[in-house]
Amino acid sequence: MHRYIPNTEVDKKLMLDSMGAKSIEDLFEDVPKELRLNRALNLGTALSETDLTKHMHALANKNKSMNEGVSFLGAGAYDHYIPAIIKHIASRSEFFTAYTPYQPEISQGTLRVIFEYQTMISNLTGMDVANASMYDGPTACVEAGMMACANTRRKSVVVSKTVHPEVRKVMHTYMKFRDIEVIEVDMADGVTDIEKLKSVVEKNTAGVIVQNPNFFGIIEDLTEVEKITHENKGMLITYVDPISLGILKAPGELGADIVVGEGQSLGNGLNFGGPYLGFMATKSKLARKMPGRIVGQSVDVDRKRAFVLTLQAREQHIRRFKATSNICSNQGLNALMATIYLTTMGKKGLKEVAQRCVQKSHYACNEITKSGKFKPLFNQPFFKEFVVTSDMDSENVNKNLLKNGIFGGYELGKDYPELENGIMFAVTEKRTKNEIDKLSSVLEVI
């Protein structure tokens, strides 16, 4: 008898007797004999808690975690400070063992958290309405592209090459199955090439997607992008780093129609790439076109304030045949963690985190490039990541760093063959002067 299965032999017999069955096998009589699996599954014998824990620690020992070194790796997943209280609140089982809040009377906890999350994401992005979160940044960006197509009844999206390569890859996969054209726009000195953008945006363009700060960490000037997009009646979609919004202008102020991004930085651990959360926010007039769940405020029969999932008519379970999105779940627990993060950091803390990212990354860039062995690849303002290049193979550089206990930067040659030897370092508020000095001194002697 397994500890998660409470039925005793006596219970089983009593239950079977009550329905006139002789054995559990009788309850599988409807499964045709020729289809049955007439052997035991090959999954081994059950492990005890102790043995499982040993096994999992043995696996962990085969990894080299970021605690065992200093990390300058970013490129879409970041090592930011995570307040200790997040774990404590998120591990309350009232939150994490609950289902989707379909029974609002006993789900006001989850619903209020999502309502707070929506408020914070709206305030952060300068938009009117946010949904309850999506799988991750890349899929949220694709959903934004599809939303733009559905809303403009056009079948083409334009994406800058300065958008994260994984976002573009996921975009290509989804759009190819929907017969939506994806046009990539080249870059010039690490930012979207405005002349080239002008030449491809036209009357069939549903949306223009730019990342800011872009994949290289560069803060792009979106003035022209906004103008070109809206002159053609397309929608401006920006993919943003939520931490940067502690100091940077909100996308809403820059004319964005849909704002999406990866929310991992907001109090979620690295976890080898997931689970994270994608966020999405838009203008009021598009609220009813937005995919995913939304929580709204209402009242109960006693006129007491209450929260409930709303605009469900948009959801897949109603629009069975005409769905423009099939997303069903949100990343509830990750959104909870993001909400606690934004609450804990608050107005001052988020700004301070962003400022420290800027100060420390600029110090690092100066230190690394001052001897001339490594040169900045672009001459542009940046937030917490920057790209340097040298005459050395970047993989080799990173190998040397790793030997010295440093997880080096992202090797750009993987996605941009023309930027071979380029390495992008991420410097968050967690990095210290000592760690940065060590990085630059190791780089100096490679």
Binding site: I5, V31, Q108, A130, L248, F272, S329, K348
Partner: protein, 484 residues
């Protein structure tokens, strides 16, 4: 406890803080020295200003307004709300397993890759499929990936006419929505009087434009599709493929496998069958399994093993591409992996046996008091058609809301669509006979109340933090963020 009605924004006070940033050794310079002023915000973001104890009390109070599996019985049909083992949470938070970056060099993440490789193989063993990808983030995401693969398969054979997917009218709502998003037309077929696939209806729509059929087995009525082999043969003979919706896997493990029934591609819900917590709406994980002829279309990267090394293989010319950032919901995979290891071969089989036993026991006890549309042995769940009797003064919604008063999470309601006033009940294997009997007694009591005092159901719930909510008002007068 007194009812808590605050939002975090309502307990703020200017100047309060709850954060503790690393000590600062490089905090020099105004932002305008680094970044042009035009890019900088003028006003601070409107975010809460609270102290740490405020944060803890607020969210603890909010959690008390919730109901989880750890609170009580949660017989939500098709959602498999089984117990979420705590040891799985513990091992999934071992630092050496969690504090790893997705772009670290492969040689520094061998433990993570080994776990994923093994989990994929274990799932294949349970389902009878040949290869698994763990990339999809949820069931619906797995469905989408599976349908993309079906499309890629036909296109690779130059069979470009196949633009239709058959979906039974009893299917999960995500099935047709997914087919639409994957660029297919949907052909809906009606179920027969037993809720099974109507073979004649199926034959009538099969032709060279059909890309495939999406099916759940056991069906959403909780009934095993006895003709499955015949159905599979018909679809295959017509050149189509079979997609298995794995939402109901909890009924069949160790007994019968989708791969042996003739399915070509399927998804698993790790957050249902494999005990990972639902998190109030996610994160889930929806890996898909495929048969050999579809392996080459799997999304990249595929986790391969070369000698003793595990690697992320992107060199796959026929792949559909990437469908999510990085490699999937790894944190959830860790929990599912731990679950399978703690259950073992015997335990996994026992899960399905007891889930089916519990469901049949409940169905037999309740069928005298509620309308049971199809009276035959069920699998892990069953569907009732509301309180029996013609005088339906009370609805299934009223029954569900009354259950809240008695401290239960209600079953899934109004689904599947083919049963009027449906109540879909899935007890799972982790509930004791006492819990199940308690629920049965309560259901019988409610059926009695429905006849004697219908008003008490219609005005339910009476003792929850809030009462019935005006949902129409929420949609009409949209308030989706807090404002001063």
């Amino acid at each position: 406890m007194k009812a808590y009605d605050q939002l975090i924004f309502e307990i703020c006070k200017e100047g309060r803080t709850a954060y503790s940033l690393p000590n600062c050794d490089l905090c020099n310079g105004e932002m305008s020295e680094f970044i042009p002023n035009a890019f900088l915000r003028v006003h601070e973001v409107e975010l809460p200003e609270v102290s740490e104890v405020d944060v803890i009390r607020h969210y603890t109070n909010l959690s008390n307004l919730n109901y989880g599996v750890d609170t009580g019985f949660y017989p939500l049909g098709s959602c498999t709300m089984k117990y979420n083992p705590k040891i799985n949470e513990d091992v999934a938070s071992i630092k050496g397993l969690t504090d790893i970056h997705p772009y670290q060099p492969e040689e520094t993440v061998q433990g993570a890759l080994e776990m994923m490789y093994n989990l994929g193989n274990m799932l294949s063993e349970i389902s009878g499929m040949d290869k698994t990808t763990l990339q999809p983030a949820a069931g619906a995401h797995g469905e989408l990936t599976g349908l993309m693969i079906i499309k890629a398969y036909h296109e690779s054979r130059g069979d470009v006419k196949r633009k239709k997917i058959i979906v039974p009218d009893s299917a999960h709502g995500t099935n047709p929505a997914t087919a639409a998003v994957a660029g297919f037309e949907i052909v809906e077929i009606q179920s027969d009087k037993n809720g099974a696939v109507d073979i004649d209806a199926l034959k009538a729509v099969l032709n060279d434009e059909i890309a495939g059929l999406m099916l759940t087995n056991p069906s959403t009525l909780g009934l095993f599709e006895k003709n499955i082999k015949w159905i599979a043969d018909l679809v295959h003979e017509a050149g189509g493929l079979l997609y298995y919706d794995g939402a109901n896997m909890n009924a069949i493990m160790g007994k019968v496998r989708p791969g042996d029934m003739g399915f070509d591609v399927m998804h698993y819900n790790l957050h249902k069958t494999f005990s990972t917590p639902h998190g109030g709406g996610g994160p889930g994980s929806g890996p898909i399994g495929v048969k050999e002829h579809l392996v080459k279309f799997l999304p990249v990267p595929v986790i391969d093993k070369k000698e003793d090394q595990y690697l992320l293989n992107y060199d796959r010319p026929d792949t559909i591409g990437k469908i999510k950032g990085f490699y999937g919901n790894y944190g959830i995979m860790l929990r599912a992996y731990a679950y399978i290891l703690t259950m073992g071969s015997e335990g996994i089989k026992e899960v399905s046996e007891i889930a089916v036993l519990n469901a049949n026991y409940m169905m037999n006890k309740l069928k005298e008091h509620y309308y049971l549309p199809i009276n035959q042995v069920c699998k892990h769940e069953f569907v009732l058609g509301g309180v029996g009797g013609v005088l339906l003064e009370v609805s299934t919604l009223d029954v569900a809301k009354r259950l809240l008063d008695y401290g239960y999470h209600p079953p899934t309601i109004y689904f599947p669509l083919i049963v009027n006033e449906a109540l879909m009940i899935e007890p799972t294997e982790t509930e004791s006979l006492e819990t199940i009997d308690g629920f049965i007694e309560t259901m019988i009591k409610i059926a009695k109340e429905a006849k004697e005092d219908p008003q008490i159901l219609k005005s339910a719930p009476h003792n929850t933090p809030v009462k019935r909510i005006d949902e129409a008002r929420a949609a009409r007068n949209l308030i989706v963020k807090w404002e001063k």
